[in-house]
Every structure is written in C-alpha cells, then in structure tokens.
C-alpha cells in the first residue's frame, strides 16, 4: 500500500516536470493535510477559488466521500486509478488527495471553457432560417443540437481518437429511426483509426470514407445545427468532433451536396428552381470549356454558321491552340481563387481588381485568349461557386481538367469517354455502404421528391428509403407499409 502510494506521488512528480503543472500542498496549520494539483492553463481559477477552496479549507477534516457529496460541481469522480486521474488532469480537472486516504483521489472539473460564442453561419449562410452555426466546442454543438431535438431517442456515443490529440468524438443518431448498420459501421471505422493527430472533422471524414481514392466527398460536412437535426430525423447519423465547427452527416448521396439548407425554408417552387439551377450550373461548369475546345479544335461543322463566325472572329488573332488557351484561362481562375483564399481578407479585395479587370481585359487585348472563351471560363467559374458544399465545389473545379484533356484528344467523343469514366466511378462509389447516385440509381421513385427538386412537405410522408430506416413514417399516424 505504502509502496503504491509512493508510486502515485512519483507519477505526480513526473508531471510536475512540466512547469505549468501545479502541486499545492497544505499541511502547516492543519491536522489533515491535503494536496491539490492541476494544470494551470487548463483550469478556471475563479471556479477553483470560489467553489472548491472555501469548502476544502473548512472540511479538510472530513473524508473525501463527504467532500465529494458536498462539491457543487457535476463533473467529479472518486477514483484510485492513476489512469483516470491522469486523464482528468489533462482535461482540466483538479485532483484532490488527503494524505490519510492514500491513493484515493477526488477529481473535479474546473476546466476553463474558452471558445467562440455561437455565431451566424458563414459558409452555409441563408437569408431565411436560423442564424446559428456550430463552434469549436463539442458541448456547445451538442447543446445546439439537443435544443432542436428534445427527445430521448437521440443518442450519442462518445469516443476518443488520435494517439496524441485525444480528440473527443460524438456519433449522434436516433434510436428507432436510424439503421444501426450505418451507425455500427461508422463507429467501427472511427475505432479503427490509428493516427497521432486528428484535428478536424474533415480529417476524420477522409479517414472513415469508403473510398479514399475518390475525389468526391462521401460524407457531408455542415455548420448548420438545423441541418444536422433534420438529417438525424430523417435517419442519418451525425459525427461531431471537439475542436471542429463542422459536423459530418452520412450516409449521403450526390444530390444532397447540391442542397443548400435554405431550400427547405423557401417555398417549394423556388427551392426546386434553385436546385435545378445548381444542377445545370454544375454540369455547365464541368463541360463548358471542354465543349469550346472540342468545337474549335475538331467539330467546326457542328456549330451553326452564325455562331461559328463569332467564334472564328474572336479567335482570329490568337496564336495558341484552343487547349492551351483554355488551360491557361482555367488555371488563371484557379490561381485567383487560391490567391484569394490564402491572402488576408483585407488584401484579398485587390485580387478581384487584379484578376477581374487587369488580367481579363489585358489578356484579350494582348490576344492571349479569345473573349468568347473568357466569358465561358468566367461563367463556369461562377457556376461552380453555386455548389453549396465547399468540398464538392473544389471537386467540380478539378473535374474540368480531365474533360479538357479528353476534348483535346478526341473532341466530343473524348468528353463522352471521360464522362463515362466519371459515371462508372460514381456508380461504384458508396457512402457508408449506401450507393452514391441514389435515388437515380438504384432508382427510388419515392425519394425523387427531395432530390433535384423539392416538392411540398405534404409529399414527404416517409423518410428517404435509401436510408433503410427502422421507422419510415414521418407522421405520428402510422402509414401502411407497401
């Protein structure tokens, strides 16, 4: 016993090797000496001094059990295992020990809760609808979620990943709605992670996705609590991570990446219009410049005479073949975008001036590019930014390069070949085991009402069938299963 006690003290001493670890021993004018230790940067001194110290000073002659019952803090534990003591200390707990009670240690949460306040969403901004976005603290995020789902069916499962980062992760799902197979798969994959640092949900998402080779995101990241709440209600699961202001939603399909959550707050006609618009924008953005290259390099005949004369006159002075012209312009747009993303926001405004006016006009005047192509490239860049999800929009920007190369190789046929490869890739892709192109393939007619269009809410009596929910009716009255 005594030996073990020394061991405990040894370990505490070892921790004290770090100068921000504090061991405070009170022994002089007390018959019952005690020790309190904690990491200075992690604890909130106000709590420590206002709630714990007065109690300790008066009740030091009691046992730890009594003290435990008296402490006005919920997160506390009485333990004699070094492992949980260490864990607690590293999370901002204070450890209180009475010399008389040996290894018995009372750990109590006095952690400093620092972090941003809840702010309006910046990436998924909406004009209508709630203006709350997740922050870095997982407790605050779960609070935002629980407020929207005040039912006991919402369960969370907490885990820790990262050998060094020890990041806290919570998988949330609805018991009785979410298919356990999906939840178990994601939990299993998270448990399988063996890596030192997992710092953000985007890293986590890359580690648990089905296909690591794919450039398509297979889990949806969102900063909107309303979106997560609705997703849980539909039978999806959500993964939160401490330190990340984005939750991951899965299983998802391709169409969900073209959904801005505001679609659900707008009247359904407008929502459907905007969704179709986004879909056409994405298609346009992927193939517009490669169609230009195909038409100008190979298929003059396909373009009608009136349009052809415009094309030819704009290209008359250009010394480069269309593919070089198009590649240079596409790369310029990506350069502008990347420069804008890396620069501090105040300087970034100049990028607009430099990019839009100087490079655009000057390139045409210098006969480096045709104005038709410039319009096409600018429009397709604009179109690619309509994608509500950032990761999907980067994917779409990258996708246009293979299409350009295909167009250069075999014109329209080359574009089709690249398209076929893309299609097969998407057909093979899965999100936590659910097919990526659902509801188009496998065809699920009942899910089409909320895919590229959004029909009125009265047309959604059931949860999406591709989620294989345990309970498919969305109304309190049961609907007969077909």
């Amino acid at each position: 016993m005594n030996n073990k006690n020394d061991d405990f003290n040894e370990k505490l001493k070892m921790m004290a090797g770090s100068s921000d670890f504090l061991i405070f021993e009170k022994r002089s004018n007390f018959s019952h000496p005690f020790t309190i230790c904690y990491f200075k940067p992690l604890v909130d001194p106000t709590i420590l001094h206002e709630k714990i110290m007065p109690l300790l000073n008066v009740n030091a002659d009691q046992s730890l059990d009594v003290l435990f019952a008296m402490l006005p803090i919920t997160e506390k534990k009485l333990t004699s295992e070094w492992k949980s003591v260490e864990e607690g200390l590293l999370k901002g707990y204070a450890a209180i020990r009475f010399r008389a009670e040996g290894n018995q240690t009372l750990i109590v949460d006095v952690g400093k809760k620092e972090g941003r306040n809840v702010q309006a969403p910046e990436i998924e901004f909406s004009v209508i609808g709630p203006k709350e976005a997740f922050v870095e603290s997982i407790t605050a995020n779960l609070n935002l979620l629980r407020k929207r789902l005040p039912v006991p069916e919402m369960k969370t499962k907490e885990m820790t990943v990262g050998n060094l980062s020890k990041s806290k992760i919570a998988v949330c799902y609805m018991e009785g709605i979410t298919n356990e197979a999906y939840v178990n798969t994601v939990i299993q994959r998270i448990e399988g992670i063996d890596f030192d640092f997992v710092l953000d949900s985007s890293m986590l998402s890359e580690m648990i996705e089905d296909s690591k080779k794919s450039i398509f995101p297979q889990l949806l990241d969102t900063e909107r609590p309303d979106r997560v709440a609705a997703a849980l209600g539909l039978g999806q699961f959500a993964v939160f991570m401490d330190g990340s202001p984005h939750a991951l939603i899965g299983p998802v399909n391709f169409a969900l990446f073209l959904v801005a959550y505001e679609d659900y707050y707008l009247p359904w006609h407008m929502a459907s219009f905007f969704r179709l618009l986004r879909f056409f924008a994405v298609s346009f953005s992927i193939i517009a410049s490669s169609l230009y290259v195909a038409a100008t390099s190979y298929h003059y005949e396909v373009v009608s005479t009136s349009l052809l004369s415009t094309l030819i006159s704009s290209r008359a002075d250009i010394p480069f073949p269309p593919i070089i012209e198009a590649l240079v312009m596409e790369l310029t747009i990506d350069l502008l975008r990347e420069a804008g993303a890396r620069l501090p926001s105040k300087i970034a405004q100049t990028i607009g001036t430099v990019g839009g006016i100087v490079i655009g006009t000057a390139a045409i005047e210098a006969a480096l590019t045709s104005n038709v192509l410039l319009v096409i490239v600018a429009l397709s860049a604009l179109a690619s930014f309509t994608t509500p999800n950032f990761r999907m929009s980067t994917t779409i920007r990258i996708l246009r390069y293979p299409f350009l190369l295909g167009a250069e190789w075999l014109g329209l046929l080359g574009i089709f070949i690249v398209f076929a490869f893309l299609l097969v890739h998407l057909l093979r892709l899965k999100s936590i085991g659910a097919p990526y192109l659902v509801p188009v393939y496998p065809l699920r007619l009942s899910d089409l009402n909320d895919s590229l269009i959004r029909l009125p809410y009265s047309s959604f009596p059931r949860r999406p069938s591709f989620l294989r929910t345990r309970h498919s009716s969305r109304k309190s009255v049961e609907i007969d299963e077909e």
Partner: protein, 361 residues
C-alpha cells in the same frame, strides 16, 4: 453451383429491363434499315414487328426453362447434358458473348473512324473502352446495370425525329405485304441480328430477387426495342425512297444529317458520340457474363478472367481491318444468334417440358 449469390448482391427484377434493353440496342441500329430493305423493301416495318413478336415468344420459352430450374443456363446445361457436354455448350455461350462484345467494340470504333476521326488507331480506342468496361465490371453487376440505365440518355435524340415529319412520304409504305413468305423469313433472320442480346438474361437470371418477376420487364424491354426500331424503320422508309435507302450504308446517321437546331448542325457527329453509351454497357455485360461462365466452369476468379477476356476482345478488334471483315463477323454472329434463339432455346423448352424435374447439378 451458382446458388451462392449473397442476398445483398441480388438486384430488383425491374433492372432486367435495362440489361435486356441495352443489350438489344447495339450497333445494329445504325445499319439495319438498309439490310432489311434490300430484301423486303417497303414491308420492312412488318418484318420488325414480326421479329419483335418472335422474340416475345423466345422470352416466354426462355423463362419457362429458367423458372423450372430456378437457376442460370450454365447449370441447366450441366444438368441436362452432363458435365462434359454441358460445359462444351457453356464454352459456346462464352465464345458467343465474347464475339458479341468484340463485334460491338469493333463496329463502334469503325463508325468513329468513318464519321469522326479517320486517323484514330483501333488499338488505343479499344484499350480505353475496355479499361472502362473492366472498371465497371469490377464494380459488380449493380454497377454494370447502372451503366445500362445511364446509357438510355441517348433517347434524348429521339424527339428530333419529329422534325422530319413534314418531309415523310407515307406513300412509300405501299403496297403493303408485297413479298413472299420466304423473303419475309430471310428478312426476319437478318433483322434478328439487331434484336439479339436478350439471351444474356439466361446468365443473369439467378441474380434477381424473385427472378420469375423479371420476365415481364424483359418483355417490356423487347417491346421498347421493337417500338424504337419501328420508329427508325418508319422514318427511314418514308424519308428515303426504296432505291436510295438500299444504297445508303448508314441510314440512321444519314437521317440525322438532316436535323438542325438553331446553334447545332451535323447531328450525326453527336449521334456517333452517343453510340459510345450503347457500346460500353454491351461490353460490360458481355465481359461480366463471360467471366461468370468461366467462374462456374473452372472456378477461376473474375479478377483474372475479366482482364484476360478484355485482352481477347482488344486483339479481336485489332485483327479486323475493314468493313468487309467486320461484316463477315456480323454474319457469323447472326448465324450463331439465329441458331441460339430459334434452335437452342426452343430445344431447351421442349426438353425442359419433357424432363420431370431438373436435378441440381
């Protein structure tokens, strides 16, 4: 033998529609009008209907055999003819599907070479298309049928035929029924080539949930094919005069040459490109079934046989230098297909009626 298909990989029966329909709508649709018109002229549309009806009959017989055995044709062959003779028949099927895929591949490339890029090498296009097909086949049957579904995009070009309506001469269809029975039969045999492909369902049968239910979808697929060919043949017969139609080598593409939209002309280029979407699913379906047969007979994993068969198809495509060679292969394919559809399947139907119970192989 093939009963070890996991519950999870089973497909819904309606997917049989896409597999059957895509397999039928091959490259044949580019040329069939003039081939048939050479024999029966204005009565070609009747031949299309007749062949369609014949195929409904064939599907019906096919499903009687399959429903009774509740298994694919590979096992049925083994059960009926014994292990050795059955496997020889299965090898015939394997060769047939490879020939089917190889012909489609080479014809597609030939059309590209004639209409779009005379300089493109056969081997490079074969390589790319077969890589694509292998990529899809490795994704499993579900992916392959997904490719079939998306290949139906080519139907967006169908409404363009409406633009032809003012220029059609329905007088060309008269006099109706002006040909002898033997001429009609020979034309039907010729037409059969464009309808072939349904036989693949004999391999896919056990992969559907409640496979009996896939029958009506296959009938529907055949009906859709018949309707599609009817539209094409009617447009060709009434747009071209008979003498002209017989001389046009690519009637479908020649029709599309006529269309124009405000900013797009020369639609045949786009049609040739869309043909890629007809060729790729056929390649996938053929490679998949060939590897399935190989797996059942020899137990070699598809991951080995699929690249091997793909290489065979590529070599096959490279070895066919010009249209006369391709046409020769078409004739073989047509002969094999005719034998299969009008000989083998009725034979199996009769045998399966006689046999009391098919014993499991």
């Amino acid at each position: 033998m093939a009963g070890k298909i996991g519950e999870k990989s089973l497909l819904s029966p309606f997917m049989a529609f896409f597999a059957a329909h895509c397999m039928q709508l091959g490259i044949g649709h580019l040329t069939f009008q003039s081939d048939v018109a050479k024999l029966v002229g204005q009565d070609s549309w009747i031949v299309v209907c007749l062949t369609g009806i014949m195929f409904h009959l064939v599907i019906w017989m096919m499903y009687r055999v399959l429903n009774k055995a509740q298994n694919d044709i590979i096992s049925i062959n083994q059960a009926f003819f014994g292990r050795w003779a059955g496997n020889v028949l299965n090898l015939f099927f394997l060769g047939y599907f490879l020939l089917f895929g190889g012909t489609t591949l080479r014809t597609f490339i030939y059309v590209v070479q004639v209409w779009l890029f005379p300089d493109v090498q056969t081997w490079i296009l074969s390589l790319i298309l077969l890589l694509l097909a292998c990529y899809a086949v490795f994704g499993g049957l579900r992916t392959v049928i997904g490719v079939c579904l998306f290949s139906l995009i080519h139907y967006v070009l169908l409404p363009l035929h409406l633009e032809l309506v003012p220029y059609l001469h329905f007088n060309n269809l008269l006099p109706a029924m002006d040909h002898s029975t033997s001429e009609m039969i020979r034309a039907t045999q010729k037409m059969t080539f464009s309808f072939l492909g349904l036989e693949i369902l004999m391999i896919y049968y056990p992969w559907f949930k409640q496979p009996q239910k896939s029958e009506r979808w296959v009938h529907l697929a055949n009906a859709a094919t018949t309707l599609f060919y009817l539209i094409e043949i009617a447009a060709s017969l009434t747009f071209f005069s008979k003498d002209q139609l017989v001389r046009v080598q690519w009637p479908t593409l020649a029709l599309f040459q006529f269309f124009r939209l405000p900013y797009i002309e020369r639609f045949e280029f786009i049609v040739v490109t869309f043909n890629l979407l007809r060729a790729v699913p056929i390649l996938c379906l053929c490679l998949w079934s060939a590897s399935r047969i190989a797996k059942t007979i020899t137990r070699i994993r598809p991951s080995r046989t699929v690249p091997f068969f793909a290489a065979l198809l590529a070599i096959f495509a490279i070895l066919l230098p010009d249209y006369s060679a391709i046409n020769q292969v078409h004739q073989w394919g047509n002969l094999m297909g005719n034998g299969l559809v009008y000989g083998y399947i009725p034979l199996m139907f009769v045998l399966s009626m006689i046999a009391k119970k098919v014993k499991p192989a």
